[in-house]
Amino acid sequence: MRRKVLLRCSRERGGPLLAELVKETGLLPHLLRADLTARGSELLISLEEEEVETLRTSSFLKEKGVELREIKRTLQLDRESCTDCGACISLCPTGALRLGEDYSLQLEEERCVFCGLCVPACPVRALKMGEF
């Protein structure tokens, strides 16, 4: 399973963080979300499990003053309980939730950024945010 990792660095630094990461570590992460907050910039990326280790132990993080946090969250869909009503779909900012060909709910975990919007919107509580 691919792991999601949050990279955070202070505002002053700026610069093309992702491009530098690719260049210096040779890793090719998927960019899931990029946020500019008051505290600095945040990138949510996904990597293979062993790549997370490569990044964690690389000198890149220290040199650039980047903080790495592995996201230990999952979004769980209880298939037994889900009625495929679709109430959650239009709230998802990344299109991780949609109805399939047969009108059953499809959750594409890879695209989920754990914003949590869908969880309380599910009328039968079939979606739960889990930690691992």
Partner: protein, 499 residues
């Protein structure tokens, strides 16, 4: 021309041709309504959506010594049930909410738990009479302990329903689900092509006494539904059935986020294809099923229509609102609607389900009237304070501070040269700006302002003040110009007047 009796004869012989509404659409498209009418005997439909006007009548039997709960209080798993019937009868409605768990658990959940055979705690109080001396009861029951458990829903199966969106700059939590700000999403309910009443909009074959699929068992149409409004294509039905025979797969308690609890009810109606006309309506496709997309950002009874939409567009998952394409959520499950139509089809094919002729037609001329209100709710423009002091964004902070202090205001709207609102500045903003070196109002003002519209009823503004814990809001006209302020003071004066 066929009769229901002839179709039933075919069902008994195992010869009836039964198709779902989805299949019927294809048949009519391919062969035309006349041929479809000759070929097909029954079209099955289905819908699975939250139906707030639903609940169940329960009879507990008598305790020893007996208690009269009627006129007292009844709680099932802490959810209040109706105590206005005879001694041990009650009605548990889907929207009644738990006194301890709030919206997480309500009457709809109690019904689902009963159907699942779970134990439900019954607590009740009576006032004590000569024949019912007992005053309190506390016990657990299951559906098997009840003498009768009758699902009765006064309004279900809306023929069609509007779709919803939200023009405001804040998220709304409605019975149409969570509506994101600035037309961020669209929600709709109804099973479209599978929706029962829409397949026979003239109610030629559907009426009082029609046998239906209800909650996984056979049930009946009891009456026209409340708010039945055929003239607008908004027909509804009241349905009844034996809860003891039902299946929790088709009856699910639910919580609509920050709105309340309800019950998802699975319901399907068989349409006997008596003639070409019935075949034609039963085969109407979703591009011809229209409804209005309404703006729930306007908290009035008549919400403005944003645009007209077809079910085909809604079903596609994305829809254009204004200039952008936004995601759509159905609120009722199409997959479950399909499953219900297929189940009903199988029942009929196997001869387990016979059609019934309505004993009474549904009224075709009923209208849905609004509530009679003795005192209409005043509009914002009728109670707002019109003398409103504003400043421009270039005004100095010192000047703004002077105005606030002089007039004893808490906040000042900041407007541009056209009197259009660009922000608001409060004494708090000014206090925290001290020593920051900032000098202009525009540098410290809050840009995201809670506002009211002149033509809004004051009740919705009162709710907004409460939600945001603020004491007043600038009032805008339809051009976005500031024309007044509405404060909690204005509102409390009003309460005095209305008493």
């Amino acid at each position: 021309m066929k009769t229901v009796a002839e179709i039933n004869e075919k069902i008994r012989r195992g010869e009836a041709v039964v198709v779902t509404a989805e299949e019927m659409v294809e048949i009519v498209k391919e062969k035309g309504a006349a041929a479809a009418a000759r070929e097909v005997d029954v079209v099955t439909t289905g819908t699975f959506g939250a139906m707030c006007s639903s609940g169940a009548f329960l009879n507990f039997g008598h305790a020893d010594p007996p208690i009269k709960l009627g006129g007292g209080e009844i709680y099932l798993n802490d959810v209040p049930a109706y105590a206005g019937l005879a001694a041990v009868d009650t009605y548990i409605g889907s929207t009644s909410i738990s006194r301890t768990r709030g919206m997480e658990y309500g009457g709809g959940h109690v019904i689902e738990d009963l159907v699942r055979g779970k134990e439900v705690e019954l607590r009740g109080r009576g006032y004590g009479t000569d024949c019912y001396p007992r005053k309190e009861i506390e016990t657990t029951i299951t559906i098997h302990d009840l003498n009768q458990a009758i699902l009765y829903c006064p309004r279900t199966a809306y023929q069609r329903y509007n779709a919803a969106t939200n023009s405001r700059d804040e998220t709304l939590y409605t019975y149409m689900g969570t509506l994101l700000p600035e037309y961020g999403n669209v929600t709709f309910s109804g099973a479209g092509v599978l929706g029962p009443l829409g397949r026979d909009p003239g109610y030629r074959t559907i009426g009082v006494g029609t046998r239906i699929f209800l909650g996984g068992a056979q049930g009946y149409i009891a009456w026209e539904g409340t708010q039945h409004y055929p003239g607008k294509g908004l027909g509804t039905i009241a349905v009844v059935g034996d809860l003891k025979r039902m299946d929790a797969r088709y009856l699910r308690g639910c919580t609509i986020h920050r709105y309340g609890t309800s019950l998802y009810v699975g319901l399907g109606i068989p349409i006997p294809i008596l003639d070409e006309e019935v075949a034609r309506t039963a085969g109407t496709d979703e591009t011809q099923l229209r409804t209005n997309l309404l703006d729930y950002g306007v908290p009035r009874r008549e919400r403005p229509v944003v645009r007209e939409v077809t079910y085909a567009e809604l079903r596609s998952g994305r829809i254009v609102v204004g200039k952008k394409e936004v995601p759509v959520s159905p609120l009722s499950s199409f997959r479950m609607a399909r499953e219900i139509a297929w189940t009903l089809k199988r029942w009929i094919e196997k001869g387990e389900f016979l059609l019934s002729e309505p004993v009474e037609r549904l009224p075709a001329d009923r209208v849905f009237r609004p509530m009679k209100q003795v005192a209409p709710v005043p509009l914002v423009r009728e109670v707002m304070t019109r003398q409103v002091v504003t400043v421009g964004p270039e005004c100095s902070i010192a000047e703004a501070a002077r105005i606030l202090a002089e007039k004893g205001f808490d906040h000042l709207p900041v407007v541009d040269e056209h009197r259009r609102l660009v922000g608001i500045i409060t004494s708090w903003d000014i206090a925290t700006s001290v020593g920051t070196g900032k000098t202009r109002v525009s540098e410290i003002m809050t840009r995201k302002v809670v506002t009211a519209r002149e033509d809004e009823p004051v009740d919705s503004v009162a709710r907004s003040l409460e939600l945001h814990s603020i004491s007043g809001v600038p009032v805008l006209n339809e051009r976005g110009e500031v024309t007044g302020v509405l404060t909690s003071d204005d509102l409390s004066k009003l309460v005095g007047r209305r008493r």
